[in-house]
């Protein structure tokens, strides 16, 4: 499976949760598949999906899912020790690990070579780290939601993209709509 197929599969699971979605194609795909006011789309700032999601989870009670990529986690690797040491049981980090920088032309990442983000997350002190195959992502994500424990999921999938339009919504509209959903 490629990332967009995983997003299509998990859309019903994440629909009622707060979702912070990574820059570029992941946000564009989620926006096209199932746009919800509970989705915060990142239009820039590669790497910060996990940080924004953690800050949000630590500041209110609703469950937050950060959808990130292997390339973006590598760009902000310092996020994993911060997550490990500031446990929020309403926080799930879903790393869709296709071993490539999808939005920029599928250049390979080190996560697709020798580096295991699962092992890195564990070494950083994260307690519930689950690596799964693409087809099991929905099941693993639902189990993480049910556990009510902070969980890091590394979903190993294929590299590849679909053609789709950029998000033209104004960022302040995205943010205001999201904050209204958070506060509701």
């Amino acid at each position: 499976m490629i990332r967009s197929e995983i997003l299509r599969e998990i859309a019903p699971i994440i629909r009622d949760q707060l979702v912070v979605c990574n820059i570029g194609l992941p946000s564009q795909e989620l926006h096209m598949i199932d746009d919800q006011p509970t989705n915060f789309y990142m239009l820039g700032t590669m790497g910060l999906s996990s940080s924004i999601g953690l800050g949000l989870a630590l500041s209110q009670d609703k469950t937050v899912i950060s959808i990130d990529g292997d390339g973006s986690v590598l760009t902000n690797l310092g996020t994993l020790p911060t997550i490990a040491n500031n446990v929020a049981d309403n926080y799930i980090l879903l790393i869709i690990d296709n071993g490539s920088y999808g939005s920029t032309g599928d250049q390979p990442t080190y996560a697709g070579m020798k580096t295991s983000l699962t092992a890195v997350a564990k070494a950083c002190g994260c307690e519930n780290v689950v690596e799964c195959q693409d087809v099991d992502t929905g099941k693993v994500l639902q189990a993480a939601l049910d556990s009510k424990k902070m969980t890091i999921i590394v979903s190993k999938c294929d590299s590849g993209n679909i053609k789709l339009p950029v998000i033209t919504k104004d960022p302040v509209v995205i943010r205001d709509r999201f904050m209204t959903a958070v506060a509701s």
């Binding site: 700032t45 800050g55 630590l58 500041s59 937050v64 996020t79 020790p81 999201f178 958070v182």
Partner: protein
Amino acid sequence: MSISKKIVDDLVANDVSFITTVPCKQLAGVIEEVEERDEIFHIPANKEDEGMGLCAGAWMGGKRPAIIMQNTAIGVTINTLATLTQFYRMPLPMLISYRGELREPVACQVEMAVHTKALLNQLNIPTYHFHKESDADELDAILKYTFMCNKPVAILTDASFWGGYGDQ
């Protein structure tokens, strides 16, 4: 009252309850004060752009955030300030140690000091420079201004403000 305590009192009085920090020798006292307050969730960050991501999330979650960092971080965070904090129009008070100013003992700090105000100016970030201890009397008004206009605001605090580096 110590200046660190006064600064943190102003933050608490303005309902700032989520603070991320990347340390600097000059900021040690204020970071210690932040850590001690029950009203504040203190979350150290490994890099300042990560800290700004945490602050963005905290603000969307209903808390007033702040970041405490060195001026070298302006070089690290320009993209985050432009594409996250400013693009989505979010407030962020930045309490910044202004290294490389008068009484600085480390030459390399001057290399970023000479760019600091120019970069903040280029980013249209409202910037305040605390040089004397009494300058901190404006902090309360600066915090109110930040959360009124939903912009990042820089408060540069130099070595003279903090009382220098001791005997040199």
